[in-house]
């Protein structure tokens, strides 16, 4: 680990004022400290934001507002989330381990970095870590890597489960920087790698994530987060799906669908949503809609199974959703 200065700003304005190109905010530290030990991230100054008033979960006026420093465990357990937006609770509970969820914050979760092994190994080239150095994953170990949104520069998967569920819910991210506050759509917040994979999101220098807004969606009560992984628990997604359905009788009126483990960012699937809307809630409909996922997938040597697995994941998520209540 490199030497760094540790500071503890007391207010958001102070934090934002103190931050610069060489600083990193510390929330739960479960990503940051790990990557600092590996020297993948080498900030000269670490700003501990845990004293900032970025806590709280607010459900007044419909929808949710979740403070960036709320812990994953607490948000998952909150009855308003659990009952109103089950896919959010589930995405959180199926992430990491109990110990990690107790430490990890919502803001930090959205900004966690990829698990690509080359990104984490500073002795290897990696365009995301060192722009222009190359991407060994494209020809190397790429089983866990993305098939959607990839480029010739980077094929890394975005690892957050929570972000997938939030993408399906049209969530917005609240930001505060030196130039004031702004709110951006979560789906636009994440950038595609293109030829600049080191730019992962639309976060200006020094800007803080202050919270996440989940717009009111009453029918999200009928939603699910399904996760496929290499062991029963405590592992990142090989494939996952967040699905919400609004039904009238046997007809699907509206749907929200996003997938994880597949894309370089959380991946919303509007084509699948369209293919579901107005159709009967039958397995035929699900299967037909799922075929809309394969457009634009670019499988690699070791993840050629992913497009097919994505379809099966989606179909299953739709079936499982029927079983809930």
């Amino acid at each position: 680990m490199r030497e760094y200065r540790f500071e503890r700003p007391g207010t958001v304005t102070e934090a934002v004022r103190r931050s610069g190109s060489d600083t990193a905010y510390l929330a739960g530290g479960t990503t940051l400290v790990d990557l600092m030990k590996l020297e993948v991230m080498t900030p000269g100054r670490v700003l501990d934001i845990n004293r900032l008033p970025l806590r709280g979960l607010d459900a007044t006026g419909g929808g949710l507002r979740i403070g960036a420093l709320e812990r994953m465990t607490d948000v998952a357990a909150d009855p308003r989330v659990r009952l109103g937006y089950p896919m959010l609770s589930q995405a959180l509970e199926l992430s990491a381990s109990g110990q990690l969820r107790n430490m990890a914050s919502i803001g930090g979760n959205l900004l966690q970095r990829t698990r690509c092994g080359y990104f984490r190994d500073v002795s290897m080239p990696c365009n995301k870590r060192q722009p222009g150095s190359g991407c060994p994953a494209i020809r190397g170990e790429n089983r866990m890597h993305a098939v959607l949104g990839t480029s010739d520069s980077c094929v890394a998967t975005h690892p957050s489960d929570l972000a997938v569920a939030l993408a399906a819910l049209d969530a917005r991210v609240q930001l505060q920087g030196r130039d004031g506050v702004r709110t951006v759509n979560l789906c636009d917040f994440y950038l595609l790698p293109a030829d600049t994979p080191h730019l992962e999101h639309d976060l200006r220098p020094g800007e803080l994530v202050t919270g996440v807004i989940v717009p009111r969606l009453d029918w999200a009560q009928r939603s699910i987060y399904l996760k496929i992984r290499d062991r029963q628990s405590y592992e990142f997604a090989l494939s996952s799906a967040a699905v919400a359905i609004r039904r009238e009788g046997d007809t699907i009126v509206e749907a929200r669908v996003a997938v994880g483990g597949m894309g370089t960012r959380p991946w919303r699937l509007p084509a699948v949503e369209r293919a579901l809307a107005g159709r009967p809630a039958t397995s035929n409909t699900y299967a037909a809609a799922a075929t809309a996922t394969v457009d634009g997938t670019r499988p690699l040597r070791h993840n050629a199974f992913k497009p097919e697995l994505m379809q099966r994941t989606l179909i299953r998520a739709l079936l499982e959703l029927e079983q809930t209540r």
Partner: protein
């Protein structure tokens, strides 16, 4: 100074009982002192600079910048190794620090000692090594037969073991072929490599370290340091698991070198990533098999070729090769066998000892073949096994006759006849494939059942002088007879110290037994491997008890004026008075012989252990998820000295086999380890671990102390193939490689 944990006194209980282990409560409470907890007032910290390349020439090493870092006490390279810069368990082929060539990703190149671990690491990063990167040799089969570079002076073959017995041209009406692969498994012990080396005034060094075999470490350290044995003294520190991964050296020579250079105590602790580079792994293997049988399912011949990737250095590859070869046909009667088994040098991480030691790789292949044969014959898989099962009196492919119990058929019947676990009834999602991840309420889920049986040699083989030493002291303390037992045998978590105490209590009829910390002030205890410690060190402890009792009974004649067969504790007190009886005994098991280098014939193994498994799995065939519902095991242990420890070993071995079946693999691409963390190298969680009912047979082996049979390894062998057989039964897929992952179930063609 924090010293190794005092875990040596325990409760009561002789053999056949299950007394509480003295270290158990401490470990559960987090109070047990592991080797990584060692501490000395003015100690400094040592770190290792390792090669980032699997194969490279070292053009130059520049230490200037590293030496400038304030707080640095020493920066060492191969030039600072005073003795011979080579070590190794069987061949001394591995440099203590690389000279002009690195042969694997993670090979040690230089050492730094500094007053803080972080300072040491920073200085380490300032060492400039100029590498000329070479193409790595990464395919074992090609390394043997291909025309690639030779990695060591004698070529790329560490050892080739052939077996030829019976008709080499035998034919049969029913023939099945198969090619199988086993991935590289890690021991995944939780306590990373660590220890503390303390320089002594006599110019020697005292090393406290977590290891499996103190004396073989001592021998290698002496050789590298150029010191006599009395100047290198080792004491076992608290060991957090081993499974074979601590049989080779890690920090031992490095810490001693640094201690002698700095004149200060040196502590070294690997982090998890370094631990993956710092110990050997299970050999990945490619195995070719052909089984020929009669139409009623009797084996006529088996032919096999096995390639075990030993990686950059020999480690225990020669012995692993012998095991894979001699055990490579399984516990089946077959007259005509042909085997060629190779252990190979490549630029992959070095591989060596891991629980099951060559028998695991072969076991996956020959058991897969038995299922294939059953399918070809339209026979029940248990029936085909039973029909060919070895029994006492059977002849191994080495010509060795099994001269004690070999209840192969009985073990298979025991697991087969067990009641099946309940069908999925009341929905407990934790019991479903995918667990609580919302993947299913039963859709896509198919149940499968699979069987396997395996064989493992117990103790060291092929003429090795395998012995252990026990020193026993009997005296009166606080008005009670008290014994102290001293051996150099390593307790690595398996429960040896409990067993030693149980033996002394039973043999001497006393209660108070203390186990002296294991160190090199007593003779060699041999390795804690090959399932041998209860057998060999247990045998030595028993023999020491007998020697002490003989002296005691002689004293009793003087005291009582007549011979006595047995003495009560009160009588022992009155006989002993202030006298102390101390006896040191070296104990050996019966000798074995070498294998004939052309035919592989010989009395190679002392004892064989057998276990059988039945695996019941639920597979979500659409999503490729597996849940092992139950993993039943039956094993013959000769005599259960500590029944609870026996079941613990069987459970542990079974789960390690399950891990290899469905998730555990070190990914190596072009010689580089790609997943050196417990986030990326997956081992089973408790949700992956099924109920594991166990049947224990106790068929005494007349050659072994108390009739016991080594327990630790056999269950690791049959577990993997049983789980995979069950997945095949559920999916109809061929599944020729472990670990089996979701994509193998969703994408593979049906067989």
């Amino acid at each position: 100074m924090t010293k190794p944990a005092e875990v040596t006194r325990s409760t009561t209980g002789g053999i056949g009982e299950s007394p509480l282990r003295p270290d158990g409560a401490l470990k559960v409470r987090g109070e047990f002192a592991y080797s990584s907890d060692l501490w000395h007032e003015d100690m400094v910290w040592g770190v290792t600079l390792r090669s980032p390349h699997p194969h490279a020439r070292i053009r130059s090493v520049d230490l200037t910048e590293a030496l400038r870092v304030p707080g640095v006490h020493a920066v060492l390279t191969h030039q600072d190794v005073p003795g011979t810069n080579r070590y190794g368990l069987e061949h001394a082929d591995q440099p203590v620090l690389a000279v002009d060539l690195v042969r694997y990703h993670g090979e040690p190149v230089a050492l730094v000692a500094a007053d803080h671990p972080e300072t040491a690491r920073r200085a380490m990063k300032r060492i400039k090594v100029d590498y000329e990167v070479l193409t790595p040799v990464s395919d074992a089969e090609h390394a043997v037969h291909g025309d690639g570079p030779r990695l060591h002076r004698d070529g790329n073959v560490v050892r080739h073991v052939p077996i030829r017995r019976g008709d080499q041209n035998a034919t049969a009406p029913v023939v099945v072929h198969g090619v199988y692969e086993v991935g590289m498994q890690d021991q995944a012990f939780l306590g990373p490599e660590s220890g503390l080396a303390v320089p002594a005034e006599d110019g020697g060094v005292d090393l406290f370290v977590a290891t499996q075999w103190l004396h073989v470490d001592q021998r290698q350290i002496c050789y590298a340091l150029g010191l006599p044995a009395d100047k290198v003294r080792l004491t076992l520190a608290g060991v957090g698991g081993a499974f074979g991964g601590r049989e080779d050296l890690s920090i031992q020579v490095h810490a001693c070198l640094l201690a002698r250079h700095t004149g200060k105590p040196v502590k070294m602790v690997y982090n998890r990533e370094e631990s993956f580079y710092g110990h050997v792994h299970r050999h990945p293997a490619k195995l070719y098999y052909e089984h020929g049988a009669t139409e009623d399912g009797r084996l006529v011949y088996v032919r096999s070729r096995i390639y075990l990737d030993g990686g950059a250095y020999a480690s225990s590859t020669p012995a692993v090769v012998a095991n894979a070869a001699t055990l490579g046909f399984g516990p089946y009667n077959v007259d005509n066998v042909t085997m060629d088994c190779w252990g190979v040098y490549t630029n992959n991480p070095p591989c060596g000892a891991m629980r099951g030691f060559g028998a695991v790789q072969a076991g996956f292949a020959y058991e897969s073949q038995m299922d294939k044969l059953a399918a070809a014959l339209g026979m029940d898989p248990v029936e085909v096994r039973v029909r060919n099962a070895m029994s006492e009196g059977s002849t191994m492919p080495t010509g060795q006759v099994l001269d004690s119990a070999a209840p192969v058929a009985e073990l298979l019947r025991l697991v087969r006849d067990r009641p099946m676990p309940a069908e999925r009834g009341e929905l407990d999602l934790r019991a479903m494939p995918g667990g609580v991840s919302n993947t299913t309420h039963g859709e896509g889920v198919v149940r499968g059942v699979g069987y396997a049986v395996g064989v493992k040699n117990i103790c060291f083989s092929e003429g090795f002088d395998d012995y252990s030493t026990a020193r026993l002291r009997l005296e009166v303390l606080g008005g009670e007879p008290a014994a102290t037992i001293h051996t150099a045998a390593a307790e690595v978590g398996q429960g040896l110290v409990t067993i030693e105490q149980q033996i002394v209590r039973t043999e001497l009829g006393i209660q108070q037994v203390t186990v002296h910390p294991a160190d090199t002030t007593v003779g060699n205890g041999g390795s804690t491997s090959a399932s041998r410690q209860t057998y060999v060190t247990g045998g030595a402890v028993k023999a020491a008890c007998e020697a002490v009792r003989e002296k005691l009974l002689k004293l009793a004649v003087t005291r009582f004026g007549e011979p006595r067969a047995n003495l009560t504790p009160a009588e022992i007190v009155s006989v002993l008075g202030t006298e102390v009886i101390e006896e040191t005994v070296e104990w050996r098991h019966r000798p074995t012989t070498a294998l004939d280098p052309e035919t592989g014939q010989g009395f190679a193994h002392v004892q064989y252990g057998f276990a059988a498994h039945r695996a019941v799995v639920d597979v979500d065939v659409e999503l490729g998820l597996v849940k092992v519902v139950e993993l039943a095991c039956a094993q013959d242990v000769g005599k259960a000295l500590n029944p609870q420890a026996v079941v613990g070993q069987i459970h542990g071995g079974s789960v390690q086999g399950l891990g290899l079946a469905v998730m555990e693999e070190i990914q190596v691409t072009e010689g580089k380890v790609r997943n050196p963390s417990f986030t990326d190298y997956l081992i089973p969680t408790i949700l992956d671990t099924p109920p594991m009912p166990v049947d224990v047979l106790e068929l005494a082996d007349p050659h072994a102390p108390y009739g016991l049979r080594g327990v630790g390894e056999p269950p690791t062998i049959s577990s993997t193939p049983a789980v995979v057989a069950a997945i095949r039964a559920a999916t109809g897929l061929a599944l020729t490689r472990v670990p089996v992952r979701p994509e193998h179930l969703t994408l593979e063609e049906p067989r």
